[in-house]
């Protein structure tokens, strides 16, 4: 698994430029589901152009954390500041942040009643008020980038899982987001289709997109991420640049986790 992309991925990818500008900041953030304390005292600063991979066992709160960033989940304590705007109950600010933050889901969540092209143009037309012709043009551009322009008129139900996920990525990109969140984008895919999705994500990283990615693709983490983060029990246990993270993990919990996912 770890070596799957190394021959196509030059090692300098890790050194892609990261600016000093802060994109996302989580300060002393807590979240509860009823009585259950899911996220405990999360502190995280993401700089523009950073590519962060978040891993950890299921139930560790990694998905919940990135879902808090575009307010699909509400946090109860602490601050979340995205692109200079603090997330509060103000609907306007939430919408403003959601326009700038793209999200890709594990189960794609494409709109099954719309064609691929309509899936892509819906948000630009209705949220950004882009004229239809322009939105169509932009959508085709992104479909070409994810290499499936010929599927534009099909419905999502007629595509393979990998194609659907690439459509979902293109759909987010159509809003010209500054930040992209990936919530286990390849977990629901057949092994043959994982590569086509990861290739698109790698390309996106090379263009300097700020990315937060919950994934277990350690090959992707090694070659693309400039920071890998391990979460367990609602806490960030350890974060480091990938070389050190994989070769010299600090905490015992991380070592155990890595030995388990890398051993098979």
């Amino acid at each position: 698994m770890a070596t799957a992309h190394e021959n196509t991925a030059p090692p300098q990818r890790r050194d892609l430029k990261v600016s000093d500008e802060v994109a996302i900041q989580l300060i002393d953030m807590h979240k509860w589901y009823g009585e259950f304390h899911v996220l405990k005292d999360i502190n995280l600063t993401v700089y523009r152009g950073e590519r962060i991979v978040i891993c950890g066992p299921s139930g560790s709160g990694k998905s919940t954390m990135i879902r808090c960033i575009n307010r699909l989940e509400e946090h109860q304590q602490g601050q979340i500041i995205v692109d200079g705007i603090e997330l509060t109950n103000d609907i306007k600010q939430i919408d403003q942040i959601r326009r700038e933050v793209g999200m890709v889901f594990q189960h794609f969540n494409l709109f099954p009643h719309l064609t691929v092209l309509e899936n892509l143009t819906l948000a630009p037309i209705w949220v950004r008020k882009t004229p239809k012709e322009e939105a169509d043009r932009m959508a085709m551009k992104y479909l070409e980038r994810v290499k499936i322009p010929e599927q534009a008129e099909k419905f999502p139900g007629q595509l393979s899982g990998g194609q659907q996920q690439r459509v979902a990525i293109a759909r987010s990109l159509c809003m010209n987001p500054k930040i992209m969140l990936f919530d286990e984008p390849t977990s629901a895919l057949d092994p043959e289709m994982i590569k086509e999705v990861l290739d698109v994500m790698i390309e996106l990283a090379e263009e300097g997109m700020t990315m937060l990615c919950v994934t277990h693709e350690m090959g992707f983490a090694r070659t693309v991420a400039n920071r890998v983060m391990f979460m367990d029990g609602g806490e960030i246990i350890e974060q480091n640049e990938p070389e050190t993270f994989f070769n010299n993990p600090q905490s015992e919990r991380t070592k155990l986790f890595l030995s388990q996912i890398l051993s098979h």
Partner: protein, 641 residues
């Protein structure tokens, strides 16, 4: 035996045809009729039942049936078969109730309009070739039957020809729609906004009070136009740069919204006045056309393709056209004034065309390269129109400067209209017409209301949720008969003395609210079937609540619950028969009333009447059912959730 199956290398095995016993008609019969011994027995039993029953049925309904006659003695010539003569003689009553005979063209026109506008929308994107094939197969025989009816008996009858023309018009509209997709939006707009008004006015006619109150109606209409027109520019992209210009345009449109309807009516009134004073009759027609034209053009322009600058450009075009038309209308007004009165009009009337002409130029002031004339026109236009409007068309008791006498000038015109459309009180409505009025109103009102209630019940806001729950549970918890009785007996007790409420209106509201509660639960079922991921994806893209509901959730939810929705519609359609208990004569009610007629006391008459009513209901309900299946197939995008 000799030709052993050929061997193929792995991965090369070709696709072979399926065994003949599993496909085609033989395969179908094997799987569906003779698949097992039990199945074979049932097939034979049901076959025997059909052979035994079908001749009896045919005898009863057709072969031995009495087709013509005037009373029970004709029916008694064949007492063991249907007596269709009863239905034939009372046909008009079954259709229209006690609606005056001379006015029955009105429901006919409404039905024709409904079919014309609705059928093309229902069958959008039917390829022309398929349409023509279908038309040849289905309409051909129907035409033949209609033509037979047209010439059979004494004299030539018009209604078969009318039906043929209607059918051809529908086919033409469906065909035209595949060539001009925008036609569909036009028809939908007509159905939603124009048709209810037309149907209301045509069915009810004009009462004396309505005529006297006309200027106030006009004020109301103007306010409505005002609201719509003020909303139009909100569609345009409002930036800080375009904001002032948009505000000016809104004001302009508000003024036109006020001025145009009054302008047209006055034009019409003068036209009719001219006709009555032996003036040129053509003026009437031209004036009438002029009243329609701006509306048609505005709709057409709003539907026109977007230009590069989007909505605002269209808006400008509309402004110019409306201004020009108002100008022409005013010229005509002056013309008719001159010809009727033999004198020059007051200065204010002469002023109006100029004002509208200037106003028409105003939108040229908008745009990056607007020159000085455009800017001046823009600045002056509201002023001009404002003056023209107040001087000319102010309603009787609202800042009227006395130039134009409203009552004196418009009421004669509406007296004329009243002559064409006399008032028909709702107790005279009945038969299939009443059934359709109640059912269609219920259907049209219950779906949107049900959707709102379903969304309300799932809302996070406790007050809205509580209101929805209480509403739904109350209306679902009481029988419709109770609702109708309460509306008739109890409701008047709560009204102040002297205030009356139309009986039919009460039934309509009762039926609509009743079915809305059922509809809400059906729609809620659909909403709950939508995966959480769909809501999240919509949220993550920044869609607002209403947009995500309208564009993402409801289209999918409603598609899932089409069977449930149509189920409710069919239930509602049949429940309309209950209005007979509050003294309204729907189709079943009027058939039952007919059965008590002394002239038709024969044993086979009640059977015939009930079979006819049942068949009429079945035709409509089965039609709805088939259409829902067609919709399900059409909306199936082959997705798995």
């Amino acid at each position: 035996m000799s030709d052993a199956p050929p061997k193929y290398a792995p991965g090369d095995y070709p696709d072979m045809p399926a065994p003949s016993t599993t496909t085609g008609i033989i395969g179908w019969m094997r799987t569906n009729l003779f698949s097992s011994p039990v199945n074979i027995v049932f097939t034979l039993l049901f076959g025997a039942l059909v052979v035994w029953l079908l001749p009896k049925l045919l005898n009863w309904a057709f072969i031995d049936a009495v087709w013509t006659g005037t009373g029970s003695k004709d029916c008694l010539t064949s007492p063991d078969a249907a007596c269709w003569a009863f239905v034939g003689v009372r046909w008009d009553q079954f259709m229209y109730g006690l609606f005056p005979e001379a006015e029955r063209w009105r429901p006919d026109v409404i039905a024709a309009l409904l079919v014309l506008a609705m059928v093309p929308i229902m069958f959008e994107r039917v390829p022309v070739a398929r349409l023509l094939r279908g038309a040849a197969f289905i309409l051909g025989p129907i035409f033949a039957v209609l033509l037979y009816f047209a010439f059979a008996g004494e004299g030539v009858r018009a209604w078969p020809f009318n039906l043929i023309v209607l059918a051809l018009a529908v086919v033409a509209l469906i065909a035209a729609q595949s060539a001009y997709p925008r036609l569909r939006r036009l028809l939908a707009g007509f159905l939603m906004f124009v048709f209810p008004v037309v149907a209301f006015v045509l069915l009810l006619g004009l009462s004396r009070d309505a005529v006297q109150a006309w200027p106030y109606w006009l004020m109301g209409l103007s306010a409505f136009a005002l609201a719509i027109m003020a909303l139009l520019p909100c569609h345009a992209k409002l930036t800080s740069r375009s904001l002032p210009i948009s505000v000016v345009l809104v004001i302009l449109f508000v003024i036109w919204g006020l001025a145009l309807p009054s302008n047209w009516t006055v034009g019409l009134a003068y036209g009719v006045g001219a006709a009555q004073d032996q003036g040129p009759a053509t003026t009437v027609i031209v004036a009438a056309l002029l009243t329609m034209l701006p509306i048609v053009l505005m709709v057409a322009l709003l539907l026109a393709p977007r230009t590069r600058d989007g909505v605002l450009d269209r808006f400008v075009f509309v402004c110019i056209l409306v201004g020009v038309l108002a100008f022409v209308g005013n010229m005509l007004l002056i013309q008719s004034w001159n010809s009727v009165r033999g004198e020059s009009p007051p200065w204010a009337i002469a002023f109006a065309p100029a004002a509208f002409a200037v106003a028409a130029l105003a939108p040229w002031g908008y745009g990056r390269n607007a020159g000085l004339p455009g800017k001046v026109a823009l600045a002056l236009a509201p002023l001009y129109v404002l003056i023209a409007y107040w001087v000319l068309f102010a309603p009787p008791d609202f800042l009227n400067l006395g130039i134009f006498d409203w009552q004196a000038n418009t009421v004669p015109f509406f007296r004329g209209v009243q002559g064409v459309l006399p008032y028909v009180e709702t107790p005279k409505w009945g038969g299939l017409m009443l059934t359709l009025v109640v059912a269609l109103t219920g259907i049209v009102a219950s779906l949107p209301l049900g959707i709102v209630l379903a969304l309300g019940r799932r809302s996070n806001m406790p007050i809205i949720r509580t209101i929805s729950v209480v509403f739904i549970e109350f209306w679902r918890g009481v029988p419709l008969i109770t609702v109708l009785f309460m509306a008739t007996v109890m409701f008047p007790l709560f009204l102040p003395e002297g205030v009356t409420f139309n009986q039919l209106l009460r039934a309509l509201i009762g039926v609509a609210l009743f079915s809305a509660a059922y509809m809400a639960e059906v729609v809620r079922g659909g909403l709950q079937a939508i995966a959480k991921g769909q809501y999240e994806a919509a949220d993550a893209l920044g869609l607002s609540y209403w947009k995500s509901m309208r564009l993402i959730i409801l289209p999918q939810a409603l598609k899932i619950v089409i069977p449930g929705i149509v189920n409710t519609f069919i239930g509602l359609f049949k429940d309309t028969t209950l209005v007979s208990i509050i003294g309204l004569f729907d189709l079943l009610g009027i058939v039952q009333t007919g059965l008590t007629d002394q002239k038709w006391l024969a044993p086979n008459v009640p059977y015939t009447g009930y079979v006819f009513a049942a068949f009429a209901f079945w035709v409509f309900c089965y039609g709805m059912s088939r259409y829902s299946q067609y919709m399900e197939r059409k909306l199936d995008t082959g997705h798995k959730r």
